[in-house]
């Protein structure tokens, strides 16, 4: 029996709600358990799942607890949920008794030397708390999304006027003095300083640098909108200038999808004037020849490769040396033997937005047009479950359409896993490409659910199933341990790469357009 319980006027963060739901599902008799704040998006999702939610009986400050279990156990299990919310069973006793302030001012009275507020509350409240932090002289990392463009501009102008920075909104990753905030990997600290409008772009470059023995001292996120005309790159340029003043930084790196033309000009001018060598990686942008001291990269591993050359050769590096290093990288990417090619479409399922973008950029010259909910070109945009379309498709499960009322897929990859398994059964699909992003903030066991499901489905490498190709963005020092995740995936029959660009290229070369198969739909 599916029943809905409403708790009025409470607030819990989405990770706590996910963990309580997960614990409840372990109980015998519980077929489904879902806990959500009563936002319109969550209500729609829960109704779709078959829970009846009466109109007008709730507000966005209420909690909805949906339980699918025998009627006689509904109340008992609802009370269990409330007990666990009040006192989570996975928390240590010492954590339960530690005093936690209720406000920013309370926190600042405990830790007056605080220099950064990390804000990940619901978007509609986030700008107000960020404003308070800035007015109290603290920098802000704004993980929250759904913050208006007007608020973003106002916050960034306020920060700029006070010599502070706002990273975000929608900033998932930052590294400051080698310490990771939000989604970040355990990488060495070193002479590289990065400003990035892309969270997973920053993670991938840091990981690729770590593979080359190079560390990052600071990696400042800005959120994707910062490099649009309206915001004008306020945080991006302030961040670059701050990194330029740091004597430990030898190479400056700028990462993001291609910025607005005038913002690009500001970024490049700042880099040129910094007195340091620089690499600009505006994904897929081939329009700029190298102009020392600033060099260009079109994809994330190439960015790391160019940085490594600049550090090795120093400021006097010439364009030919950099070109040679790029060619060496591209020449090192594995190419599948012809007999492994698969008759069918390429489908990509991503948790990292920039990894999805990069994969399209790598695959499109080989397989032709790639459709996506976050496409390279607007005319290739499709909505919702675009994987069901005929053709090559790549979906970013971190886009708003999938995260309203849900955790980010890097924390909870279950929806992506579900969709991937559907693709596995589709005879029109030849190759399935996906990413796994490790590090702080990401799921503790990011591949276990998928590996178990593949075993259950009888997946074997080289069988009639589509070929599975995966990239892992992570290091051995990450909490999930790179080698442990790689082993699990390889044992499940997945072809595993440690570079998203290499995986995308390999997958594209594997996939051949279906021949002699009926088109499914348009």
């Amino acid at each position: 029996m599916k029943n809905m319980h409403i708790v009025k006027g409470v607030y819990y963060d989405s990770v706590t709600l996910m963990l309580v739901a997960r614990e409840l599902k372990q109980i015998e008799d519980v077929r489904e358990a879902t806990l959500n704040i009563a936002t319109p998006a969550n209500i729609a999702i829960m109704r779709q799942a078959g829970f009846e939610i009466p109109e007008g009986a709730h507000s966005p400050d209420d909690l909805l607890v949906g339980l699918d279990c025998p009627a006689e156990r509904q109340q008992e299990l609802f009370q269990t949920a409330r007990t666990w919310l009040a006192s989570p069973p996975w928390k240590k006793e010492s954590e339960k008794t530690t005093y936690q302030p209720k406000s920013l001012d309370g926190a600042l009275s405990i830790l007056p030397e605080a220099n950064l507020a990390l804000v990940s509350i619901a978007g509609r409240y986030a700008a107000a708390e960020a404003t308070k932090a800035l007015e109290r002289g603290r920098n802000v990392m704004l993980y929250s999304d759904n913050v208006s463009l007007e608020d973003e501009i106002r916050l960034k102008q306020l920060a700029h006027s006070r010599g502070l920075i706002v990273m975000g909104p929608d900033c998932g990753t930052a590294v400051i003095n080698g310490k990771g905030l939000g989604f970040s990997n355990a990488c060495p600290t070193g002479p590289v300083g990065i400003v990035s409008a892309s969270g997973t772009g920053l993670q991938e470059v840091m990981v690729q640098l770590a593979r080359r023995g190079i560390g990052v001292k600071h990696g400042l996120g800005t959120g994707g909108r910062d490099v649009k005309t309206e915001v004008g790159g306020i945080s991006f340029v302030d961040g670059l200038n701050a990194l330029a003043r740091d004597p430990d930084i030898q190479v400056l790196v700028a990462i993001g999808k291609p910025p607005a033309a005038e913002v690009r000009a500001r970024i490049l001018a700042t880099m040129e004037q910094s007195g340091k060598a620089g690499v600009a990686c505006f994904m897929g942008d081939r329009n700029h020849p190298d102009a020392p001291p600033v060099f260009f990269a079109t994809q994330l591993e190439e960015c790391a490769q160019v940085v490594s050359v600049l550090l090795e050769k120093g400021k006097q590096v010439d364009k030919a040396t950099v070109k040679q290093a790029r060619q060496a990288l591209f020449g090192s990417y594995p190419v599948p033997p012809p007999h492994e090619r698969k008759d069918g479409y390429l489908k990509g399922l991503f948790t990292g937005g920039t990894l999805c973008y990069e994969a399209q950029f790598m695959a499109q010259p080989i397989v032709g047009p790639v459709w996506s909910n976050a496409p390279l070109h607007s005319e290739q945009k499709v909505q919702g479950n675009s994987l069901s379309m005929t053709g090559h498709c790549m979906v970013d499960y971190g886009e708003d359409e999938f995260t309203q009322g849900r955790l980010h897929p890097m924390i909870d990859p279950s929806l992506r896993t579900e969709r991937l398994l559907e693709q596995l059964k589709d005879p029109m699909v030849g190759v399935i490409l996906f990413d796994v992003v490790l590090g702080y903030g990401s799921a503790a066991q990011p591949v276990d659910e998928l590996v178990a499901a593949l075993q259950q489905a009888g997946y074997r490498e080289g069988s009639s199933f589509p070929t599975l190709v995966c990239s892992i963005c992570g290091t051995e020092e990450d909490p999930q341990v790179l080698s442990a995740q790689r082993t699990k995936l390889k044992q499940a029959g997945v072809k595993v790469f440690e570079s998203n660009a290499a995986a995308a290229l390999f997958a594209a070369l594997l996939a051949q357009s279906p021949q002699g198969k009926e088109e499914k739909n348009g």
């Binding site: 963060d13 220099n115 010599g163 702080y440 903030g441």
Partner: protein
Amino acid sequence: MDSKHAINPLDALLQKGPVVVNMGMESFFHDLQAQEVPVVHVQWRPPLATQGLLQKLQKIGGESS
């Protein structure tokens, strides 16, 4: 900055490293603790009254808004 000795607060953050007030996802707090970053977690709750409600209350109380 006004004084030649005053340091830009962004530069201070980069020099000293993060000392954090965390508001929202508690998992971020634990990740920072694991990296030995000084951090306080705020048991944040949404404000009790929205601005619209405050205005209504002010009207009931006879205040002009």
